[in-house]
Symmetry: C2
Subunit: 314 residues, 2 copies
Amino acid sequence: MSRVLNGSAQVREETRQKVLAAIDELNFSPNMAARQLSGGKTFTIGVMTPFFTYPSFVERLTGIQDVLHESAYDLVLHSIRFPEQVGRQLHTLLTRNRVDGLIVLSLPFSEEETRRINPDLPIIVIDDTQAITHYPSITIDNVAGGELATNYLIERGHRTLGFVGDRIDNPFGFVSTRRRYEGFRRAIDQAGLRLVDDWVRFGEHTQEAARQNAREILSMERRPTAIFVSIDTLALGVLAAIDDLKLRVPDDVAVIGFDDIQAATYMHLTTVRQHLVYSGQLGARWMLDWLDRKDLPDPASVALPLEIVERATV
Amino acid sequence: MSRVLNGSAQVREETRQKVLAAIDELNFSPNMAARQLSGGKTFTIGVMTPFFTYPSFVERLTGIQDVLHESAYDLVLHSIRFPEQVGRQLHTLLTRNRVDGLIVLSLPFSEEETRRINPDLPIIVIDDTQAITHYPSITIDNVAGGELATNYLIERGHRTLGFVGDRIDNPFGFVSTRRRYEGFRRAIDQAGLRLVDDWVRFGEHTQEAARQNAREILSMERRPTAIFVSIDTLALGVLAAIDDLKLRVPDDVAVIGFDDIQAATYMHLTTVRQHLVYSGQLGARWMLDWLDRKDLPDPASVALPLEIVERATV
DNA sequence: CTGTTAGCGCCTTCAC
DNA sequence: GTGAAGGCGCTAACAG
């Protein structure tokens, strides 16, 4: 019976049919728990992600789901609402033997402790917030991305540049804005331009906060001709601010975002594309390979390419 | 050992401590698969939801996660990207004995077939798209909500009303816009107003489509003084359109949305609130009770209250 | 090829 | 109160 279900050993076609018929008749379906017990696998992959209201997490999750959906594995979701939960959740995951593998999204955690608690659990990190040395990771070079965006602005003739982002010292320890801002500064330096502090604002991770910040920047007697917004969601807020002030995009103020979320398309936002959905797909595929071949994916880490998507705001 | 872990039988404190010490020393953690096998439970709850990029699904999911997080149950996600997948996914879920209960979000499915395949699986429906008779469901009265919104507009003196929504004949079989529109028509009738077809538009479920539709409505020689948008996401697009046309909200055009998603707050959108997060929390709590008491929650179905949230767009 | 059997790790029941 | 044994349903290994 086991043999025909799992197609493994050689079974005569005749017997196979007979078994299949019986299965069908009895309306039989295998008990996963038993299969797990004897096989030592749970056919479950855990995903740990921050409270996933932001489009970037949702899109990555979508990618993961895409590929797991085609596989024998289920996706169990562990979304973290408060930073303090990370440790406990991770401990549970590591300890309970309920997942065959774990994908961590954008969340900082201690590699040492993790390995101490459970050195055998396959873990893949997507969008690391810290240097990951012991696990495969899928990243982008945020600093380079910041430079890319800024240089794009500079090449189009902009000399006075503003920056809007979310808080650098956020409780979750996200670092993308920090790094993208670093790229921004670097590009400005290299071009011999001047960094104007008044044109640089960090605020809450909401469109409204970004809108307010942009409004302040653009209401000063001297205002920049272009703004780099470190996250697309916020860029939509900046666009709204420009509208508020009856300015035109991109003639009065150019805007470039970062991430290329779905909404960026509708809003014709020029932005730096990181392939969010793809990052999730890749991570899931790596995990599947790993679980399958019992071996680490190779290469063990990768920085996904970034590219400017030219639309209508620069 | 089992006894101390589950705190069940009476164990002398002394032995208890001894066992605990051993557990700690050996770094022991129970094998869930075995526990499931012998206990006949998976401690897992499945959630089936449409491709969850829309804020409403994400918020409901958040609510579910909130309460499961505090429980012993894991949440396994089955997001459906294409309508055709519903049947197969459901069949798998019903058949594989991998979940103790299932929460279905906004997805139509056959109750008969479901009960035939697995009459014992607890299922709770949140935001039904059809009449649910055999399972507990958490709903809102979309028609009444549409009336509520429209009457609110009428009470504020508006006599010429437009409507923007997403396609009524969408592949997933979502019905909220259809029903809300029905409420809209009903309220207009009751007030003795005239329904102007040119002011009613259905389009893709994107801000951009809504923006375009609103732009067309508002560019006609005679335009309405208020628009009811059946979904907040789309309402944001309508707001953008009004901006495009250099009109003011609410003086030139008033806008009321529906759902009260997070973004509605930032955008000061007046809207009909359905408690999205709460609906998820409630569904999950019902499920937990059901699993716990082996009995259906009571009442078996509920329509959540709706209320106008007055902000700045009417 | 196919029937049989020994675990997988836990919970529960039964003796002591 | 506590040790011992049976069984949950499946897979894998072993005889036929």
